[in-house]
Symmetry: C3
Subunit: 273 residues, 3 copies
């Protein structure tokens, strides 16, 4: 088998799956770069949820091959003064609106450059004012996939928008307060406590030493996986995105615990057990 | 990078996403044409909604590379006397049932030929009577993608089915009456007024001269994009498919205005503002 | 056109479409095997529904090219003692947890070998305990797609888990009792009576000789397709997966007949009509 690098382009939007929007972007990409391998991340970001898109992108972009082009279109300000940008990270490209949707990328990447996309010959001719996904971001992504350098596409900017993600805060000597960042398909609650933070606060044996409190339910200690507690029981663990999660083994924690994005989550340091 | 034309095959169905139906079509296609690049347009057309499929196809097929094969399977009459057809447009192929699902293609393409698919050696062996998507349309699409000419697949027909899309009608000297054609994922209302019609009726400055009335809400003038009105306000504009649309900036017009497909939309000519 | 075999990898999960889970698997696969053609079967298996995944896989895997790698991740026991396995069938590979999800494959394939995946250098480094789809099954699938032989990935096992699917049973000389196995997107009821069984019980003219009773509705005889009865009428036929199905022509049988998975279905032998 010949190993040939197909350029990968990922798409992450709030466009849903019932309309022609996603397919229009793919048509544009294949027209410019027939070699592209276009992969959907998701199109079910809730409409206009920039924070949700930033979280989802941050959880997955690093799994893709070097110089994958990640297109993110959650863009309530489409057609207004907000700028279309390309972000060059250490090994990945990102294309989308300058509305904070790349905030997690800015946190994670060791080195970034951001360009305001101004060279309109890389856009679709006569772009619409309401569908920059098709008319600006898809064609730019396809030209990146073909090897055009971002420096030829626009001008460097420094004042791009970074959204602040809420971080857990200490409440008293023994309690840290965080929130649910994301509820996944299974109803698992992804919190904003990451493993590094837990280690720094609780030490290397944080799994044994912490209690998690969410919606009046207290969970003692962290497990490795759901199946280490009986079916129907709550369980806390470090999830696959690197954050503390709360689940119900083979159940739905969001429904059972009546928790949702933004619900408070406390960590209690419990040296005695 | 070598630029090699991979043959693109698009799929547009009412099959949904929870069953094996779409994957069965893809398996058949990759078996016959391993080089194919199969792209989903959508599989969430409401069951049996031939008009909805025709609209969606019309909004997107022209974005794809030349000689893309577009397979459309919304087919309540599967297995009955309705004919399987291939339509050859100016630069695209279309494969599906002869039930009007290609009506927008017939309007748009400068030149078409239609063949009744009769050559059964291009079908799956022993086709079922209930799944022509897998057994007839997918294999025919794959053979087209491999370069077989449609003329070898069937016989030309002229009496193919064209559905009439409702066009706006004048009500009096100053009022035109149309309808909502489609409600998209964001609740935006796509009407059957297209930009060419508005220009012919209202003149080149139609954006300034028209009032849009839908569900007792009156919107003065057209904007370029949502963000030109305050958040939560209704806005009219020419959408990315070329039709007049009504939205609520960062809201859901269908829910707020209680409008749906078929809801009446009026354009009032307003020379004074 | 050069016919080059791209290795096909299919994905069948209960991960849903709103999270990063499916995309993470694809990123891992493209990193290891850039040539792969990754195809979604479905990701909307109800959470933890191993039986539903087994049914869906059984209905479609044989449509794919020889040596397609089918990855199935419906895995309530992820991270516990349940084994990750690869199944080698006559012409297909299957990768997933040893929890019975391949039971239909075991029934259908003339010859199988099953390996417990133990060679961790084919896994993602430091696999998580909660996302073996990304960390074990996706990389193993990609290495299979690149041509690594399963024998190098683990040790043969014989005691893999086979789930029993309920078979129809005779109730008296003239009545057989089965159930609804699956309700599809259209509300069609797929039963566990297959065509071979009907032939053996009722003879070659079973279409004419059987009455189907489901939820107090009696349907006389089998048709070829929906459209052979008037719109809104119930109809029984052999569906595209080879099982007896009950539908309402252009309607939704599950809603109208108030039937769901597990609902009883009877076949009455009716020699007189």
């Amino acid at each position: 088998m010949v190993e040939r690098r197909l350029p990968v382009v990922t798409l992450l939007t709030d466009f849903g799956l019932q309309d022609y929007f996603v397919a229009a972007m793919k048509g544009v990409i294949y027209n410019i770069c027939p070699e592209a391998c276009v992969v959907d991340i998701t199109h079910l970001i809730p409409p206009h949820d920039v924070i949700g898109a930033a979280f989802t992108l941050g959880a997955v972009y690093h799994e893709f091959p070097r110089w994958t082009v990640h297109v993110v279109v959650v863009d309530p300000g489409v057609g207004t003064a907000r700028r279309p940008i390309v972000v060059v990270g250490d090994q990945h490209y990102f294309v989308g609106p300058d509305n904070g949707v790349f905030s997690v990328v800015y946190e994670r990447e060791p080195y970034i450059r951001v360009y305001h996309l101004t060279e309109e010959h890389f856009f679709r001719s006569t772009p619409s004012a309401t569908f920059h996904g098709r008319d600006i971001f898809a064609p730019v992504a396809a030209w990146l996939a073909r090897g055009v350098e971002p420096v030829h596409m626009g001008v460097p900017v420094e004042d791009f928008i970074r959204l602040k993600f809420p971080k857990p805060v200490p409440k008293d000597a023994n309690v840290y307060q965080g929130i649910v960042l994301h509820v996944d398909r299974f109803g698992n609650l992804v919190t904003n406590f990451d493993a590094a933070l837990l280690t720094s606060v609780l030490g290397e044996d944080f799994r044994r030493r912490c209690q998690v409190i969410v919606a009046q339910t207290r969970i003692s200690g962290l497990r490795r996986t759901f199946g280490e507690v009986p079916r129907g029981e709550p369980v806390a663990y470090i999830g696959s995105a690197g954050f503390l999660e709360v689940a119900i083994n083979q159940g739905n924690a969001a429904q059972t615990l009546k928790a949702t994005r933004g619900t408070e989550v406390s960590i209690v340091v419990a040296p005695e057990f």
